[in-house]
Symmetry: C2
Subunit: 127 residues, 2 copies
């Protein structure tokens, strides 16, 4: 439920694969998910529990089956957590292109066109 739980849950490749399966194929009973893994069914069941505790999946009981569905909310919180780093990333990119421009001014050694995707006009942070 906390960000800690979400990050910890995403640390396992098996759990990330579970999320992807639920995304691509929709909600499914636990057993149908488990057969895809090179791992015992109870182990998959525990992974599902970790995902559930992190709020990444929800379960609904239907007869003797338990259907798990993706709950993408926490992933959007991860996305928000990443946002400030995106700003940093863009600034690095524009700093790089500024540097390339300066190199062009000093002495163009070849004629590779400027293929940057941004306008080469940002502030330049810690380089």
């Amino acid at each position: 439920m906390t960000a800690d739980h979400v990050f910890a849950a995403l640390a396992s490749p098996a759990r990330r694969r579970l999320l992807r399966l639920l995304l691509d194929e929709g909600a499914q009973p636990a057993g149908r998910l488990a057969v895809r893994f090179d791992m015992s069914r109870p182990s998959v069941s525990e992974h599902l529990k970790v995902l559930k505790d992190a709020g990444l999946v929800a379960e609904s009981r239907r007869g003797r089956e338990r259907h798990y569905r993706l709950e993408a909310g926490p992933l959007m919180e991860i996305r928000e957590w990443l946002t400030p780093y995106e700003r940093f990333w863009r600034e690095r990119l524009s700093a790089l292109s500024t540097l390339l421009d300066e190199m062009d001014d000093l002495g163009p050694d070849d004629e590779h066109g400027p293929d940057g995707l941004n306008g080469r006009n940002g502030e330049q942070p810690h380089v």
Copy 2:
């Protein structure tokens, strides 16, 4: 260097805090980062190593200090990994608002205005 390494690196609160410090305050020598933690300096040093192996920080030696700087590229790959889930998330949202509209049609019990941020007009996936 792989996505596995990046997700695993982000699983530790201490390492996420290191990244945040480097983002907010810029590159710093290892020792200056370490004093902020309720943990021995060598332990912080190992966390920095994990981050470096994941490509999340880079080090540059300056005299007897080692400055660590944020390397945001891998975080942008995480962002891309999240993208398909964002689509799923939006579809859920619009499905919810569609549902709310139907409830309005059947019998409006109060007059809360529709405060959804989207137009309530998407496809409705697995609800």
